[in-house]
Amino acid sequence: DVKVTQSSRYLVKRTGEKVFLECVQDMDHENMFWYRQDPGLGLRLIYFSYDVKMKEKGDIPEGYSVSREKKERFSLILESASTNQTSMYLCASSLLSLRGHEQFFGPGTRLTVL
């Protein structure tokens, strides 16, 4: 089974802190994704990566950055956390292919910024 793990299930940070969310997948997938999930808005793509050291902006990249130094690991960074970044963050991975391969999701990190 594909396994996508996220470093924390729950996280509480203060405004202005630098926050790191870590994601690791064990299926040698090329693609990795970071989403945030908010009630009534569904999932929105923050950043994605299709290879080591490659990154692309998603639909809502403002206030975030990412790092992919190894194929299995994709990190989301909040340089200076703000209260409007309180949300559920979901990491996902998938194969690189022109076919419609599904994405596999981690359990999520619920981040609260005070």
Binding site: E30, L45, S94, G100, F105
Partner: protein, 114 residues
């Protein structure tokens, strides 16, 4: 641009009755469509997908979905609902950019009443 719509925020159904969760889509070209389920405090789990072929797609946990090109719909169905089916359901469409990027609907909360 690709998009999906889930017109119902909430669906209630009695245990044992058939259930339908609606999804309509808008794409240019052939659609790749997906359904995911999210149980409380969990990440998303893949249920099924339509890429090509038969319009009726069967997936996990007894769910199926019918692709209807003329109505641009991909409704999720199950003949007999279980209380354990109560969860948040997301429809998604593959977008024609990025790395198998998916655009998600806003979700439908299904409640199965005992």
């Amino acid at each position: 641009a690709q998009s999906v719509a889930q017109p119902e925020d909430q669906v209630n159904v009695a245990e044992g009755n058939p259930l339908t969760v609606k999804c309509t889509y808008s794409v240019s070209g052939n659609p790749y469509l997906f359904w995911y389920v999210q149980y409380p405090n969990r990440g998303l789990q893949f249920l099924l997908k339509y890429i090509t072929g038969d319009n009726l797609v069967k997936g996990s946990y007894g769910f199926e979905a019918e692709f209807n090109k003329s109505q641009t719909s991909f409704h999720l169905k199950k003949p007999s609902a279980l209380v354990s089916d109560s969860a948040l359901y997301f429809c998604a469409v593959r977008v024609l950019r990025g790395a198998n990027n998916l655009f998600f609907g806003t979700g439908t909360r299904l409640t199965v009443i005992p």
